[in-house]
């Protein structure tokens, strides 16, 4: 829990990882390119005080993760969202066994989500059932730009993916976190296109689709889809650190999200170990949409409470003390959820 100015915030970090990108685990040049890309994100968007040396960035281990994520007792709960990246790393990028052992040691603090890949076919379906039982899965993390043999990406509305979603539905895996990376095939179309989210969200209304990075770099397409689907959420991984390096852009992102998808469907994430949650939570609680951005209304304390933890707690049935709860917004199921959030004349009043 985080407290500031007499307000208490229950905090859920909805996207963390325990990765291993050390050279001995890199399978080829792409393993290095991938972690270097992450490190450039880290260097470009972090405050100077939060910068890590490259060596530390490659691997953190469980002990350090617990210190980094739960320092000062700010974060109440965190959810692992592992990426497989089997073509880039010998033992994969996300370290399943280590993360699972940590989750078992701290069940009140950690939830482990696992991945699946429809290109694993029938065998993958059996594996998903086994994984669901072993990890008691409530959610999965899907990275559609993952490479797999000669395939360099897949789509959520591929027929085989539907078989996997049917198993999710059957087993009660209700939270589908989607990272729309630059999917390669077919190259003819926009690699970051989020239209497939629209299709699966319509066809699986009993599953929640949390689009990570709020669709960036296609914020506009994501907002447009999310506003039409009651079961589409936005995860703030990678968007959060803009709060420091580009606060006005962050304000625009929040303004757009509050208008199109509303305060009940936005999830805080640090994307650890890309960044650590402490400074992000502190910055977010202090954050306000600048008054001269007259296109947007100010963001309220209750809205921040929901984004920082209550929305994710609900998706994962994480117990929240009654006094920290906030009532749902009286928002419509679809359409702009909070038209006042972008009312020029209201914002200027």
């Amino acid at each position: 829990m985080y407290s500031k100015d007499g307000n208490d915030y229950f905090v859920v970090d909805a996207h963390i990882a325990l990765w291993d990108a050390r050279p001995e685990n890199q399978r080829n040049i792409h393993g290095k390119q991938f972690i270097d890309c992450f490190y450039d994100y880290h260097r470009n968007l972090s405050p100077e005080s939060e910068l890590w040396p490259y060596e530390e960035y490659l691997y953190q281990g469980g002990e350090r993760l617990m210190r980094d994520v739960f320092v000062d007792g700010i974060v109440d709960h965190a959810v692992f969202q592992p990426a497989r990246l089997g073509e880039f790393y010998e033992r994969g990028f996300g370290q399943t066994e280590e993360a699972w052992a940590l989750t078992q040691a701290h069940p009140d603090k950690l939830t482990y989500n696992h991945w699946f890949d429809p290109r694993d076919g029938e065998a993958g379906l059996d594996q998903l059932r086994a994984d669901a039982e072993r990890f008691q899965l409530k959610g999965v993390k899907l990275y559609t730009a993952d490479w797999h043999g000669d395939s360099r990406g897949w789509k959520l509305d591929d027929p085989m993916a539907y078989r996997y979603f049917e198993v999710c539905r059957e087993l009660g895996i209700t939270n589908v976190h989607v990272h729309k990376g630059p999917t390669i095939r077919p190259l003819d179309r926009d690699a970051f296109d989020v239209a497939d989210v629209d299709h699966v969200a319509t066809d699986f209304t009993d599953l929640n689709f949390i689009v990570e990075h709020v669709g960036l770099p296609r914020l506009e397409d994501f907002c447009w889809i999310a506003t039409q689907e009651p079961n589409v959420y936005g995860g703030l991984a990678v968007a959060m650190p803009f709060i420091h390096s580009r606060p006005r852009y962050f304000a625009q992102i929040m303004g757009e999200l509050l208008y199109w998808i509303g305060e009940d469907r936005i999830l805080f994430s640090s994307d650890y170990a890309l960044w650590t949650p402490k400074w992000l939570v502190e910055s977010f609680v202090d954050f306000q949409i600048p008054a001269d951005l007259t296109e947007y209304a100010p963001i309220s304390v209750d809205q921040k409470r929901k984004v920082l933890g209550l929305n994710a707690a609900r998706l994962y049935d994480i117990p929240v003390p009654e006094r920290l709860q906030v009532a749902d917004a009286d928002a419509t199921a679809t359409g702009p959820r909070d038209p006042d959030a972008a009312d020029k004349n209201l914002a200027m009043a």
Partner: protein
């Protein structure tokens, strides 16, 4: 008697590269700092491009390097043209395809279906939408009494002369949309005038496009500088409607 060998002018090469646009960001690769090096020897030219990450989408990377090659080949008097993409996960594939003049499908094989024309058109439409929103938001901010609803009645002749209007007009022309002074400024994605009750929504949709494009451009420039220290010196920023209020607070 000594023959004077003709030499390609640097200005002609730069002018050619200035026409190459990053489709996602709607800015010239020269302004974005994506041109890493230009070497002219006689009539031959070799250009290297660089991008903000190894994992920038290869289809957009292909559009930029193949457009650069086409633009250079069109320079009068040009000899051998070499364009290469550096430090990308698909550099080998793309550079080989370009050198062999294999085209998009010949280069990417089973990963390519027809062409990148539709992709290009999608982003030309986004570029127009963002330019339209910039012009309208600038108009709105110029006078606090102006309302979003009034935007629906605005025609091109109502816009003040300047960068925003010029930029909108050139993007209209590229898409074949009307450019005459009596044409409405606010258009739906289908290119029609929105009904009065959908004016505010149309503007806000356009705003999300502009914020997305400008935010991405800003982040890409930052990542390029992180990846290639000193490359900020090669970057020229688009005049922003937020220019008095920069998106970035420098550390």
């Amino acid at each position: 008697m000594t023959a004077v060998l003709p030499r390609l002018s640097d200005a002609a090469v730069t002018a050619a590269l200035d026409t190459v646009i990053d489709p996602e960001l709607d800015e010239a690769v020269t302004d974005l700092g994506f041109v890493r090096s230009v070497v002219v020897e006689g009539t031959d030219v070799e250009v290297h491009l660089r991008l903000p990450t190894s994992f920038c989408a290869p289809n957009f990377a292909w559009l930029m390097v193949s457009d650069a090659r086409d633009a250079l080949l069109a320079v009068p008097g040009v000899g051998r043209v070499v364009v290469e993409l550096d430090d990308h996960h698909d550099s080998d594939l793309i550079n080989a395809g370009l050198a062999a003049d294999a085209g998009y499908r010949g280069t990417f094989g089973h990963e390519a279906e027809l062409s990148l024309d539709e992709l290009r058109a999608t982003f030309q439409r986004k570029a127009h939408t963002a330019a339209m929103e910039r012009a309208l938001t600038e108009w709105l901010r110029a006078d606090a009494s102006r309302t979003e609803q009034a935007v629906g009645d605005l025609v091109l002749a109502d816009l003040p002369a300047g960068t925003s209007r010029d930029s909108l007009l050139s993007r209209r022309a590229a898409l074949g949309l009307p450019t005459d002074p009596s044409s409405p400024v606010l258009l739906t994605p289908e290119g029609t005038r929105p009904a009065p009750e959908t004016v505010a929504m149309t503007l806000r949709k356009a705003r999300s496009v502009r914020i997305s494009v400008d935010g991405n451009a800003h982040f890409c420039r930052g990542l390029l500088t992180t990846r290639y220290p000193g490359s900020d010196a090669d970057q020229v920023f688009r005049p922003s409607i937020d220019s008095a209020l920069p998106l970035e607070v420098l550390r």
